[in-house]
């Protein structure tokens, strides 16, 4: 997917004027955001579990080579295959080859952000293989030819009526806006696709070194039908998904659903280990795991390593004032919200995404709610520094900051300059007490007046008060 992140400002402005989008986004506060608070309150150990979840991921990230080797050995023991991919192109080619060797015409997919990251669907279609998304939200956006707008709810930007319109056009049935019937329609259509598919592709929330297992977490049960019905199952996962043991998985699972949707546990957590065993009546004959690097080894040991702890719960976006106003599509690539503002520059380059680390008020709520305590504002700040270093900041801002920096490093001069400026502005604005417009301050005055200074600066007043203290 071509990033369009540089258009963040204009897309955000359009989003604010889109009543459907604003209605759809409004539900997040009363739904997932509130749900997380309630779920955390019901579990007294929640904060301690977050600490442990962070430590588990940190430990795994410090020993990824060993855990990946251990994981691979267990997958092979269980009769599966492991494929290593350095970048998106290699991963796409590997998956295409697996599909072709299975003679696949259609593949079903359960939600995978990694598949989005590598642009798998477009690639498979170009190769004559039809990918069918089975997660209801992913199915909806696939029909609309849109990228996901949220990690957990890819179609969260749409209202019920928009889905009703889409299904009327696509399913050729009389229009209904009853959610139960809409879900039923998708269920019926997709049921046939599951049964026809030659290959099932799933992502993985966790890979377990102890057992060689891949774990999926869903509410719909689509991952189970995707991997359970076709004769070939492909897991696509990035390197940092590997963790030591099932015990570690349980700790992470306890914070995952609660942080994401406020559920105590998602409806389906499935631990898959190898292909079908002797005597099994169902399950795939082949079990493939594609391990994707795509720049992650470069993040290890860098100041962005903490980002690799992310377990894709979406809490950072559910609690971000910017995301809740602008929606996911304004971010212009696969990953959105605060986590996307850190990850997208990593994948597409800061020159194509420097708007994103700036699309934040740095209020810090994302870090407050992150189940693995990723310091998201700090990581965005690193990108802002990088942006400045590479001269990607507009020259007006650079010169403005340069001028300010010159004075800030010379306190006496700074005080003199502010004293003069306050004096001049105070005299100019004395009559009305405020300014309706001022040069260089349109950003403020376009929607409100600027109060005129009263004459003396803070430092002047401070000094005076210190002097008059007994």
């Amino acid at each position: 997917m071509q990033p369009t992140s540089l258009a963040f400002q204009s897309k955000a402005a359009a989003a604010l004027a889109d009543p459907n989008l604003q209605t759809a986004l409004g539900g997040i506060k009363t739904g997932w955001q509130r749900g997380r608070i309630l779920a955390a309150d019901r579990l007294p150990e929640f904060e301690q579990l977050r600490d442990q979840a962070r430590d588990i991921k940190n430990h795994a990230l410090a020993n990824l080579d060993f855990y990946l080797e251990a994981f691979e050995a267990r997958v092979l023991d269980a009769g599966g295959q492991v494929h290593w991919a350095r970048d998106a192109a290699e991963a796409r080619r590997i998956i295409q080859e697996i599909c072709e060797s299975a003679g696949a015409k259609t593949v079903t997919k359960s939600k995978s952000m990694i598949a989005e990251e590598i642009g798998l669907n477009d690639h498979l279609e170009a190769a004559g293989i039809t990918p069918v998304e089975t997660d209801l939200g992913e199915y909806i956006i696939q029909l609309r030819k849109e990228p996901p707008s949220h990690l957990v709810g890819p179609a969260v930007h749409l209202t019920k009526d928009q889905v009703a319109d889409l299904f009327e056009q696509t399913h050729g049935l009389p229009r209904t806006d009853d959610p139960t019937e809409l879900v039923g329609q998708a269920r019926t259509v997709l049921r046939q696709k599951y049964l026809q598919a030659d290959v099932g592709i799933t992502g993985a929330n966790f890979l377990i070194a102890e057992t060689g297992s891949a774990i999926t977490v869903t509410n719909e049960g689509n991952a189970e039908l995707t991997q359970g019905l076709p004769k070939v199952h492909v897991v696509i996962a990035s390197l940092e998904k590997v963790i030591p043991s099932m015990e570690d998985a349980f700790t992470l699972l306890r914070v995952l659903a609660r942080s994401a949707t406020g559920q105590e546990f998602s409806a389906y957590t499935t631990v898959m280990t190898g292909p079908k065993r002797q005597g099994d009546l169902d399950g795939p004959e082949q079990f493939h795991v594609v391990l994707l690097d795509n720049g992650r080894t470069g993040m290890i040991g860098s100041k962005f390593q903490d980002m690799l702890r992310c377990i894709r719960c979406g809490a950072c976006m559910n609690n971000c004032p910017v995301y809740l106003a602008a929606g996911g599509h304004a971010y212009g690539w696969v990953y959105v919200g605060p986590m996307g503002s850190v990850l997208t520059p990593q994948f597409v380059g800061i020159e194509s995404a420097h708007t994103l680390p700036n699309a934040s008020t740095f209020c810090g709520r994302c870090e407050e709610v992150c189940p693995v305590r990723i310091p998201l504002p700090n990581l965005m700040r690193h990108w802002r520094e990088e942006q400045f270093k590479r001269q990607l900041v507009p020259s007006t801002v650079r010169y403005g900051l340069g001028t300010w920096g010159f004075f800030a490093r010379r306190p006496a001069l700074y005080r003199l300059a502010t004293r003069l400026a306050m004096g001049v502005l105070g005299r100019l604005g004395k009559k009305r007490g405020r300014f309706a417009s001022l040069p260089l301050a349109e950003g403020w005055t376009v929607s409100r007046d600027l109060p005129a200074p009263q004459g003396r600066t803070f430092m002047q007043q401070w000094r005076q008060r210190q002097r008059s203290r007994p």
């Binding site: 150990e45 855990y67 990946l68 890819p154 049921r191 189970e224 359970g228 043991s245 570690d248 631990v271």
Partner: protein, 231 residues
């Protein structure tokens, strides 16, 4: 060296270049990794599920009902056929059931329900109701744990719109870790598929409104059975 081996070596090599461990650090890292992989120990287990068996069963029941599962408790395995038939009747479903070919379920005496037509095997797309046997239950979130096996096919709990699951009362554990320890003790390594199931299938993908039965079962009925020990 095959393509795959080359890519593998490149990725692992990149990681080792970053870690640059001294020989002592490397030995220590390997020891830690081996301990955590071969002798995993539980992290913090929430107090919520750490109760006596009867209280665990009660917590399990409450939590499962909170997520729209139906829970019934019967004294004997021999009561299961009548209970299953009653569930189908209550929901106006045909008296037809596909059942996992597990010896425990086969010995339940379904012949006692002459109106109930049963088949032992895996589910297909035409089956409206399936019955299988759970390996364990987890009280902390009202979660079922199903282990795949030749006599317990996975799709039984996913393809039919109505899923019935027998759970031995004695196998309701407090926490996931305790159920998994039992799996390790009995099976050694995990079977192909272990399904943790918490309520029926659901989605919030249309305007964040909760709808049941997205792809998996619309209805989940759990039958707690008191005279069963084995899983």
């Amino acid at each position: 060296m095959s393509d795959n081996e080359g890519r593998r070596a490149a990725i692992l090599g990149r990681l080792r270049d970053v870690y640059r461990r001294s020989p002592e650090d490397e030995a220590a890292a390997i020891a830690t990794v081996e301990r955590r992989v071969f002798h995993p120990a539980p992290n913090l287990i929430p107090a919520r599920g750490q109760l006596d068996l009867e209280d665990r069963i009660e917590l399990f029941t409450t939590m499962a009902r909170n997520v729209q599962a139906e829970v019934e408790r019967v004294a004997r395995m021999a009561d299961v056929p009548a209970a299953a038939s009653a569930i189908l009747r209550r929901h106006n479903l045909p008296q037809k059931l596909v059942i996992a070919p597990d010896p425990v379920l086969q010995a339940a005496g379904f012949a006692s329900q002459p109106l109930l037509r049963v088949r032992f095997g895996d589910a297909d797309e035409h089956d409206q109701a399936g019955l299988t046997l759970a390996f364990a239950g987890v009280a902390e979130t009202g979660t079922l744990m199903l282990c795949s096996a030749a006599e317990r096919p996975t799709l039984l709990a996913f393809l039919p719109e109505n899923s019935l699951v027998v759970l031995p009362s004695a196998r309701v554990f407090g926490a996931y870790e305790q159920a998994w320890r039992e799996l390790r003790r009995e099976l050694g390594s995990p079977p192909r598929s272990v399904n943790f199931i918490t309520g029926p299938s659901r989605t919030g993908d249309i305007a964040q409104r909760l709808e049941l039965g997205a792809h998996g079962p619309r209805r989940l009925a759990i039958l707690l059975v008191d005279d069963l020990q084995a899983g």
